[in-house]
């Protein structure tokens, strides 16, 4: 069965600083990987996804993620964080039948 680990429960960065959120997955076949963002009281919004091809994936809101098969990782990055990026971020892997398995999430706080 697939699984996703997000090692960092909380991360605090200063506005304008760079960001990297870690995600490690376990899956027997070629993984389909996703990053979602959840703002307070909101549903999940898809930031980006990796299915195949280029291992560096661009998403919305200036986010990108890099798939590294050798490390079983799919880390999310942003070069310059804005205060509006404060939210919870979830990494997910897709299994059979389009079912998603999510990690535990990383809560991002942004200092002014």
């Amino acid at each position: 069965a697939q699984s996703v680990t997000q090692p960092d429960i909380h991360i605090t960065v200063s506005e304008g600083a760079s960001l990297e959120l870690r995600c490690n997955y376990s899956y027997g076949a070629t993984p389909y990987l996703f990053w979602y963002v959840q703002s307070p009281g909101q549903g999940l919004q898809l930031l980006l996804k990796y299915f195949s091809g280029d291992t560096l994936v661009q998403g919305i809101k200036g986010f990108e993620a890099e798939f590294k098969r050798s490390q079983s990782s799919f880390n999310l990055r942003k070069p310059s964080v804005h205060w509006s990026d404060a939210a919870e971020y979830f990494c997910a892997v897709r299994g059979a039948g389009n079912m998603l398995t999510f990690g535990g999430g990383t809560r991002l706080m942004v200092k002014p």
Partner: protein
């Protein structure tokens, strides 16, 4: 395009009571999902429908949880009787099909069981 609609947004009940949540997916989406998100955790899939049929309900606690999508459009998730540990946000999502398609999530229903 309207998104996934859920109601109510908030519900507070006492343990052993029953509760129902409603979800209306994006028009034309054949696949509907119910997730449970306990505070501090990622969402966990409870049940997946393809039209009006169940694709997977392996993680649904069937002794107390039930779900239906009778006409293949909107869906209802019920808990009867509720336990304290059922306190969570219940998220509904839909996708065009069950293949390689993005899931779109509703805002969720926050359930508190006292």
């Amino acid at each position: 395009e309207a998104g996934v609609a859920q109601s109510p947004r908030y519900k507070i009940i006492e343990k052993r009571q029953s509760v129902a949540f409603w979800c209306n997916p994006i028009s034309g989406h054949a696949t509907l999902y119910w997730y449970q998100q306990i505070l501090g955790q990622g969402p966990k899939l409870l049940i997946q429908f393809q039209n009006n049929g169940v694709v997977d309900d392996s993680q649904l606690p069937k002794d107390r949880f039930s779900a239906e999508r009778l006409k293949g459009v909107d869906s209802t998730l019920k808990i009867q009787p509720a336990k304290l540990e059922d306190s969570a946000v219940y998220l509904c999502a839909s996708s065009f099909t069950s293949g390689n398609n993005e899931q779109f999530f509703g805002p969720g229903t926050r359930l508190t069981v006292l």
